[in-house]
């Protein structure tokens, strides 16, 4: 605690020591944030086991296994014939390779260091590792915009936000695990280039954008947001040469890099998702030229030049725009892909593409899901927006734009709440950091021993930015959960030169700080609860608690294990597309359709087969060389995501391609029922029969625990299928197609049925097929 006079000589040393201590504290906090982000995602590993969750991660896991076994050249050229039989799938050209390459690299690196982790372990833990990286990237991004204090706050909040946890728990081995890190890191490099104007960071930005393109189809968000921001800067008069350096190399290099990824290919220059970037590229060049010429000419001549250029330029612009519009309008979807169109027009998918509409994560979110997923941050965000405007810089305008666009998209599709999460965390971090700054500053300068502590609530709002900068520069590590009350001589020298401080009375400030800490406490409790209870379920294993303890339902793996051991290696399995990835990964059998859903007609064929009566279904399935059919049935234990509940989607999708399947045939008075009032078409369909075959033997009455009534048709036999396996809780049922009969009785009319046996040898050959 130095005296004001003697501190002047040692203030330099003190300042350096304080800076060093601040740096160490900052680094230590970041380390702890990383550990927090990693460990909060481990609930599912502790509660269940280290297993891959859901459906899509199984495909990624299978691809990673292939990569680790066969190397990258085989992976790049892999044609998969175990799925979408008989079409196959070109994996190298249709998968976003970022995630699998990342996990494969980590596995290879660890194995070459003689740490023998299996591929599954690496896959399960990739997501928590990259969420720690994402928190650090958030720190960097917010530090560029508002300073290290806000950065640390935002990083802590992102480490815990439930919306990000839901897609990145240990075991959720999906694209978003890596893509969110790539997104934030790309934004950080863009803002850093914008702030410094360094071409080096522009190069890094392009490379990070390449990593994002490799990882996720959501890269189109970046390539549309950044041009929007550039346009915003130009329109609000904030054009500078740093903007040119930040944007132009990114577009050229980024387009080339995006075209390198096979999945994107030439779409990088031909689809409407990228046109905005090219348009803004041209506009930026025009603006840059205008500014350059303005610098060369006198104002009068500049006006002359402007009138000349404007007339000619506008004419040219209209010509080019007319050509472009004619080109684009000639394609039926105006050059946009189906998924992008369904984002821009939320009703598009339900009208034209039932498959996209049927995925539950493509539905719009409900209001409660906002509070579940971002909790307290929902009302810290407006404070963050206001704080971004005081003062407005390029970086903070970017953050506000990012937030506004991601709020719109999250309102369209619940899966995109994930893109909203970083924006919300950053802005809430800024808001909380500013709030803490004001309150702790109030407390500090209200101390009775300080000279200028008596200045009470002045209006000094124009002084706030200057003061906050002065104070925050002195204290690099201003993440204040504990109030810093040491008086430094240098600080009182600075503040004496300032006119007014916005200082609140001491009591309310203390109460305010306590309330903010309690608010954060609520947030932390909610996040941990959400991570532990809501988002840690691996859908492959179900548990339920009842009066006689914990029941574990491992039926899925039981069924896939049975398939793996009891069927031939080349047997084809038909099921609804949800289970395709799991079947190929765990049962190692060829499937007809899987979660990639790229071929609507193929899926509609399976849907029609499930909705048709037995004979017609057998014909369809036989034409696809199917040997086994797999259905998921939850009626015995009350598992509600079973195939009977999904059946109407099968009907809709099948009916979209085969008009003889009509949804109204399966509904009684507009209601979907499988009890005694169900329509005959419904009760005769293959799905009904396969699900409820022998169901009445379980309790004598056939009471379906999901639908909560007794089923309609209870006693029936299967003529074209035979049951080969039903799991312990009847959740998965596997049937085999019966081979065609050698002879069919009663099919052919004989002249005289009495003289059959003696006449058979001489009465001519019957058709060998019957």
């Amino acid at each position: 605690m130095a005296e004001p006079q003697s501190s002047r000589t040692t203030s330099g040393g003190d300042g350096r020591l304080r800076n060093a201590l601040g740096g160490v504290l900052c680094a230590f906090s970041l380390l702890l944030i990383g550990v927090l982000a990693f460990s909060i995602r481990l609930f599912s590993v502790i509660k269940y086991e280290s297993v891959i969750h859901e459906f899509d991660p199984y495909f990624n896991y299978r691809v990673t296994q292939f990569l680790s076994k066969n190397g990258i050249y085989e992976f790049w050229n892999w044609f998969d014939d175990r799925t979408w039989y008989p079409l196959g799938r070109v994996i190298g050209g249709t998968v976003y390779p970022g995630l699998t390459l990342t996990a494969g690299t980590i596995w290879w690196l660890l194995n070459s260091l003689n740490i023998p982790l299996s591929v599954e372990t690496v896959c399960v833990f990739t997501a928590p590792i990259f969420s720690a990286n994402a928190s650090w990237a958030t720190y960097l991004l917010t530090k560029e915009a508002k300073g290290p204090g806000a950065g640390l706050m935002a990083a802590t909040i992102l480490a815990m936000v439930p919306s990000y946890i839901s897609r990145s728990v240990a075991g959720s081995y999906d694209n978003e695990a890596v893509a969110i890190f790539a997104l934030i890191f790309t934004f950080y490099l863009y803002v850093k280039t914008l702030n410094t104007g360094s071409l080096f960071y522009a190069t890094l930005n392009a490379l990070s954008y390449f990593y994002m393109v490799c990882s996720w189809g959501g890269y189109t968000f970046i390539i549309n947001l950044i041009p929007m921001h550039v346009l915003l800067c130009i329109v609000t008069g904030r054009y500078s040469s740093r903007l040119y350096i930040a944007y132009a190399p990114l577009i050229v290099l980024g387009t080339l890099l995006a075209a390198l990824v096979p999945v994107v290919g030439f779409n990088a220059v031909m689809t409407s998702e990228h046109f905005a970037s090219f348009l803004v590229f041209l506009i930026l060049h025009v603006v840059a030229l205008v500014y350059y010429i303005k610098g060369l000419l006198t104002p009068r001549l500049f006006k002359v030049a402007m009138t000349f250029v404007v007339t000619v330029g506008l004419a040219l612009c209209f010509a080019v725009a007319a050509i472009l519009i004619a080109l684009v309008a000639s394609s039926p979807t105006k050059g946009w892909s189906g998924r992008s169109l369904s984002l821009l027009d939320p009703t598009y998918a339900s009208k034209y593409i039932p498959i996209i509409a049927s995925v539950s994560e493509h539905q719009p979110p409900t209001w409660p899901s906002y509070f579940m997923d971002i909790n307290v941050l929902a009302f810290l965000v407006p404070a963050g927006i206001i704080s971004c405007f005081l003062p407005l810089s390029d970086a903070s305008s970017f953050l506000v734009l990012y937030l506004v666009t991601s709020v719109y998209f999250s309102g369209v599709m619940v899966r995109l709440m994930l893109v909203l999460a970083p924006a919300v965390c950053i802005l809430s971090g800024i808001a909380l950091s500013e709030a803490f700054g004001v309150l702790t500053r109030s407390m500090k300068f209200q101390r009775p021993t300080s000279d200028d502590g008596s200045s009470t609530a002045g209006d000094g709002s124009p002084n706030i930015p200057a003061n906050s900068k002065a104070v925050s520069k002195e204290k690099p590590s201003k993440k204040n959960r504990n109030k810093e009350k040491d008086s430094e001589g240098s600080s009182s020298v600075d503040t004496r030169t300032e006119e007014k401080l916005l200082v609140l009375p001491c009591g309310p400030s203390a109460v305010g700080i306590m309330l903010l800490i309690i608010l954060s406490g609520f947030y932390v409790v909610h996040c941990v609860w959400a991570a532990a209870e809501a988002y840690s379920a691996p859908s492959i294993v179900l548990t339920s608690r009842s009066h006689d303890g914990l029941h574990v339902f491992d039926d899925f793996r039981e069924a896939y294990g049975w398939l793996r051991h009891n069927t031939g290696a080349d047997d084809k399995v038909a099921s609804w597309w949800d289970y395709g990835y799991q079947t190929t990964a765990m049962a190692n059998r060829t499937v007809i359709v899987d979660n990639n859903t790229w071929n609507n007609t193929h899926i509609a064929t399976i849907g029609t087969a499930m909705a048709s009566p037995e004979k017609a279904a057998w014909d369809i399935l036989n034409s696809l060389d199917v040997k086994y059919v797999l259905v998921v049935f939850g009626g015995l234990i009350g598992y509600s995501s079973d195939d009977i509940n999904k059946f109407l989607w099968m009907v809709r999708i099948g009916g979209g391609v085969f008009p003889h399947i009509k949804e109204s045939d399966y509904l009684r008075d507009g209601n979907y029922r499988v009890d005694a009032h169900g329509t005959p078409t419904m009760l005769n369909s293959l799905m009904y029969k396969l699900c409820y075959y022998r169901f009445v033997e379980t309790d004598g009455k056939g009471f379906d625990r999901v639908r909560r009534y007794e089923i309609g048709k209870k006693h029936f036999k299967l003529t074209h299928f035979e049951e080969v396996f039903t799991t312990h809780h009847w959740m998965v049922r596997i049937y085999k197609l019966k081979p065609q009969k050698n002879r069919v009785r009663g099919k052919l009319r004989l002249k005289s049925s009495s003289k059959t046996s003696s006449m058979r040898k001489t009465s001519g050959k019957k058709s060998p097929w019957h």
Binding site: G197, T203, T255, L260, I293, L297, L301, V304, F308
Partner: protein
Amino acid sequence: MPRATSDAKLLIQSLTKAYAATPTNLKIIDLYVICAVATALMQVAYMGLVGSFPFNSFLSGVLSCIGTAVLAVCLRIQVNKDNKEFKDLPPERAFADFILCNLVLHLVMMNFLG
């Protein structure tokens, strides 16, 4: 419209006079940019003649020309002594960044050339 033509002449004269005053190194960079853009335009004209069959080759050729032109413009911005924002940046560092970015661009371009 004599007023317009005399205005246009005056405009062009003052433009050429102001431009002649720029330092030589900037003029060299400008020449490089113009050459690169001209090469890109020639490639587009050639594509118009013979069709765009190996589209990846066309794309990588055109984008490499445009890319190096853009990077040269960035270099010019950073090296220009009239630019207040970059007066702390040594021109050697600007040139090194330019080389690095070009290296990455051409590496990617060679990969995509096919």
